[in-house]
């Protein structure tokens, strides 16, 4: 090492404290120029599979047709990174103009005044018509409000649960596609054989810090048996319906027709011809197909029904608008948000990603697509049963108690009613703390 290097490096290290602000990629603040041109930023996590190209196409299409506005995407690798990045940018006073958000994130942001209500845009002069609103799926429209009745979100990538199955296996065994949970339990049981290494399906129950498909599957079951996560602002899953829903899972786990795993185990088991079913969102269609790789025909059907009909869970995120944006940026951002949900764009998005259109107005445009992709129609029809998770600031922790309850019942053989009562109380505490 020569004198110069040492000197340079010493100088560099002396600059440690003084080098703030130079370099790096922090630069997500939106800027407007005086010419009336508005730059806005959209922070999102559509980074894998077919999502990234579809997102980029829509954005460049918007930029091409709206000369005064330029939308820049800030892509994050996953939802958890997205949340961390949004939180950090809000805390640093440097948020993007708009961002994808789950209901409970939005609730947390709203509590700190970090996002703005959207009613004045939705119902304003550049808003949407009442015909459009009534053409939106009921669950999707209800999903945009926070407790207190304020409209804070605008829908983006929505999906719900469907049932994937190995059609060849069912045919070989002369089994009909189950339409009720009782049928589902008997079909999965009859397909389970330890000597052949086959079972009904695998699911990920999630953990107390992150919910997974299995966690939401319980919520779907709860609704199918007539229960609700919250009733009148109180957590209420320890109801009779909750117990019956949990017993469905327990029966299937105990007789070996359901196995637990992590990292989309249902997809892996189905693809490897061990599991006959996968209960997952319609957005997994592409990935399930990849996993199966043409080995057999994959069937898609609506989730089985319970005594109270089909229960389903609305999945996917909405878009929120951050309060740091100037009024020019806000109205530009609204233009973009509205444009994304117009029939043509929501149809494009649905056809290229497997997410669902948010309005029935997209259906005529998607007729050909639905004809060749009947499963998308099934999922779209289920949207009427798909309810969102409670939009409570404490619900990120609250949903974790369900993952805990499932595992305590299945893995530790604890009594169902006792576990549900205990976890319901825990969830209530989180909701109270968050609110």
């Amino acid at each position: 090492m020569n004198t110069k290097t040492v000197a340079v490096m010493a100088a560099a290290s002396l600059l440690t404290a003084g080098a703030a602000g130079c370099g790096g990629t922090q630069g997500s603040s939106a800027a407007s120029t005086s010419s009336g041109h508005v730059n806005i930023t959209f922070m999102e996590a559509m980074s894998s599979g077919t999502l990234a190209p579809a997102m980029e196409h829509l954005t460049s299409e918007f930029n091409r047709t709206h000369k005064n506005i330029t939308v820049t995407l800030e892509v994050q690798a996953s939802y958890s990174t997205l949340e961390a990045k949004e939180q950090a940018s809000i805390a640093a006073g440097n948020p993007p103009t708009i961002g994808q958000a789950y209901e409970d994130w939005a609730a947390t942001y709203a509590k700190s005044g970090a996002i703005v209500p959207l009613a004045s845009y939705v119902h304003g002069s550049n808003g949407v018509s009442s015909t459009y609103i009534s053409s939106m799926y009921k669950g999707v429209w209800k999903d945009q409000f926070l407790p207190g009745g304020k409209l804070y979100m605008w829908p983006f990538n929505k999906s719900d649960f469907v049932m994937y199955y190995n059609a060849n296996r069912l045919q070989q065994q002369h089994l009909a596609v189950p339409t009720t949970w009782t049928q589902f339990m008997s079909v999965t049981h009859s397909l389970t054989s330890s000597s052949h290494g086959t079972w009904g399906f695998s699911m990920d129950p999630g953990t107390s810090s992150s919910a997974a498909n299995g966690t939401y599957l319980y919520v779907a079951l709860l609704r199918a048996y007539g229960g609700n996560l919250m009733v009148n602002g109180r957590v209420a899953f320890a109801s009779q319906a909750g117990v019956r829903a949990m017993n469905v899972l327990k029966t299937m786990y105990d007789n070996g027709s359901m196995k637990l795993g992590t990292n989309y185990p249902g997809q892996t088991a189905l693809g490897a011809e061990h599991g006959a079913f996968d209960l997952s969102t319609i957005a997994s269609y592409y990935y399930n197909n990849e996993a199966i790789a043409g080995k057999f025909t994959m069937g898609v059907a609506a989730l089985p029904k319970g005594p109270a009909g089909e229960g389903n869970v609305l999945q996917g995120t909405n878009i929120v608008m951050f309060s740091k944006a100037t009024s020019a940026e806000r109205s530009a951002a609204w233009t973009f948000m509205k444009w994304l949900t117009e029939p043509q764009q929501t149809a494009y998005w649905a056809e290229h990603t497997g997410y669902l259109p948010v309005t029935t107005q997209a259906n005529p445009l998607m007729a050909t697509y639905f004809a060749s992709h009947p499963y998308q129609k099934i999922a779209a029809e289920s949207l009427q049963y798909a309810l969102p998770a409670p939009a409570e600031p404490g619900w990120t922790e609250g949903i974790g108690t369900i993952a805990t309850a499932i595992q305590e019942v299945l893995l530790q053989n604890k009594p169902v009613q006792q576990v549900l009562t205990q976890e319901q109380a825990a969830a209530q505490t989180y909701v109270n703390q968050g609110g």
Binding site: N2, A10, G24, T25, S48, T81, A84, G271, A272
Partner: protein, 297 residues
């Protein structure tokens, strides 16, 4: 406790004069050693073999039970995995961060080690104790406040957030101080008579003799930075500045069901470290006993 840990000879100690057992006993003993050595080799190397095999098989061959133990040379897994994440960027980020961190640690450690080892100044012992106490603060504890500090510096999601907090190493300073302390005083006096400056003395006389320590500090800082996960995972969010391990963890999240592709990614992200290790194994081993304080998670 006996202070007999000084190394007489770093080479392999050969005890040929040990009491020689009988021929038969020796043969049994030999066989036993071969078996134990083989078991150790399998235990420690098999997982590496296994990931290579998985990366060279079709998903079907991997998901069957029992799984296939031989490769089927399916190189598409590598092509697929490589195309699905910005690996080149991750590699370049990692190399840049590791190199700059290593350089900075070497420089700051040389300077401070020299000051503590060879210079006289008021408050020396107190400051040295203060530096040593830094070692007591585990990085797990610092994650939260440093996150807020870096946020306020607008350094979140930059290279700096991954470099500067690690630009000083108590271990490095400590190790170099020991070397400078052991330099004979006459050397410095002789240099002074020649009119050499302190800096020239540091560069021409002191540093060359500290070479083994510098190699140890350099290797382990580099390795520690390359292998670090929690810190960059928390402090960064975009692939443009993230290192390879965080990239691999993201890949596990987005492509976690593609086991063969994931295995391929594990292989090509681990290969550079393995090559470095094989090239510098002597230095790694020699440094291990000294590097105990300098490796971060």
């Amino acid at each position: 406790m006996a202070p007999t840990t000084r190394q007489e000879d770093s080479g392999s100690p050969s005890p040929p004069t040990l009491k020689t057992p009988g021929r038969g006993a020796r043969r049994v003993r030999r066989a036993f050693q071969v078996v134990v050595a083989a078991v150790l080799l399998v235990l420690f190397l098999f997982p590496f073999y296994w990931v290579v095999i998985t990366s060279l098989n079709h998903t079907n061959q991997v998901l069957q039970f029992p799984p296939s133990f031989l490769p089927h040379w399916v190189f598409q897994n590598y092509a697929r995995a490589w195309s699905e994440a910005p690996w080149l960027r991750y590699f370049l980020n990692t190399i840049f961060i590791a190199l700059v961190t290593t350089l900075l640690v070497l420089v700051t450690s040389i300077l401070a080690g020299f000051a503590f080892g060879s210079l006289r100044f008021p408050g020396k012992n107190l400051i040295f104790a203060g530096f040593l106490s830094i070692m007591m603060v585990p990085y797990v504890v610092l994650i939260i406040p440093d996150y807020i500090v870096l946020k306020d510096l607008h350094w979140l999601n930059t290279y700096w957030a991954q470099i500067f907090p690690f630009a000083g190493s108590v271990f490095g300073i400590f190790l170099l101080r020991q070397f400078f302390l052991s330099l004979p005083l006459e050397l410095w006096e002789a240099a002074q008579i020649d009119g050499a400056s302190r800096f020239r003395f540091l560069r021409q006389v002191a540093l060359p003799s500290a070479r083994p320590a510098l190699v140890t500090i350099g290797i382990y800082t580099f390795l520690g930075t390359w292998n670090s996960f929690l810190w960059p995972f928390i402090m960064t969010s975009s692939p443009s500045v993230q290192p390879i391990e965080v990239g691999l963890s993201t890949f596990l999240g987005t492509n976690g069901t593609d086991w063969t592709g994931l295995s391929a990614a594990v292989v090509f992200t681990t290969l550079p470290v393995m090559v470095l290790f094989l090239l510098l194994q002597r230095e790694f081993m020699a440094g291990a006993s000294a590097a105990t304080g300098g490796v971060k998670g």
